[in-house]
Subunit: 239 residues, 2 copies
Amino acid sequence: MPRAPASGKPRGRPPRGERNFAAIRGAEDMAFRRRILTAAAEIFAERGFATASIDEVARRLGATKGLVYHRYRSKGELFADVCEDGLRDITSRLEAIAERRDRAITRLTEAATLHAGDVLARTALHRTLAEAASGTAAAALPEMEADALSGLGALRERYEAVFVELIAGAADQRDLPAGRDTEMLGRIFVAALDAPLAWSPATLAGLAGKGGLIARQLAYFAIRGAGASDATLAEEFSR
Amino acid sequence: MPRAPASGKPRGRPPRGERNFAAIRGAEDMAFRRRILTAAAEIFAERGFATASIDEVARRLGATKGLVYHRYRSKGELFADVCEDGLRDITSRLEAIAERRDRAITRLTEAATLHAGDVLARTALHRTLAEAASGTAAAALPEMEADALSGLGALRERYEAVFVELIAGAADQRDLPAGRDTEMLGRIFVAALDAPLAWSPATLAGLAGKGGLIARQLAYFAIRGAGASDATLAEEFSR
């Protein structure tokens, strides 16, 4: 994060004018980082990690290559930041739902709708996350840079663990059948919500503007697949 | 397909000795093609299309690069053959189920179990098919070669259409709820069965030998998600 130069003054709160300047600089900086991450996810999703380039990301932004290299020394570093930023963002929204005091099945339904909606709204980001999980991006990198991606596995596991806990909680509260392999069910559950990642660009274009409706259909399919009764489904999806 | 040389003799059935020779040559040829396709699917799945090379496929086989180039002029041609051969094979098995005289829900259950089982048994092939569907492989190819991949889209659509028809048939026979968007349901249904493609290599390794059991769990999840009643599920999954 860039700071206003201290210019020999004692440390502490900068004078009012400088403080605002730093805040504006910081906000502009964040906005530009966000634009880079969005454009990079698009390029990674369209071309795959191996074929994508920082040049192309800069072209998509209408910025110079140097402006992007100023922040990311390599394509691997940019890929890792796209994935980490995206995973942290959706994980914090997921955890906010998981920590509520509602029944587990209600929180699971909202979590499923959140995930499916995010996949439809930010398909490029989720395709990029899927490539990170598959290991093909790491295979295309020199060993040192591949290590930078290894932390993503733990983030992804933490994310999926929230779904597994909600499924187990709903089974404890008898809103889902008991005695199931909740870990396996969680894996199937999240992958079913990821369904749009397998759809062609033409299919997705045809569904533009219907994201909310489709997210609910995906969540309904997954909650029903996990074993919710018709009475539970009616209650959860009437809200 | 190579043939024994005709050596000036009239056309027609070759003499017995030559006939056997040609048959053996043909069978060896097919076996070698199959070995190439299997190794190529593994390399494409591990590294992604853009980073994979014919060299690596040859190394995996313990064959020379020339032996592979003798059959495939380019990586794009090899990729297209892996996908087309794989899709034709599973489509013919799917159609054999779809054409039976059982109730649609029974055929749908078997089709779902077939697909999930094949994804678990030939994960590398299905990852390669997913890359073909996503369009990233075509983005990495020169335009002329990318055209060679465009036929795969139609094959994939035909495959998914079989599931959509079975879902519609099961709704007509009242084994699934009526009045649903069967095309959307079909897309979610097949993607849910593809769940293992999103699982990490470590997860898949831990499930080795349990393919049949997991295929049934996936099929159960998808059939239930599509709306089958508990009575229908009990009947279909007690076989």
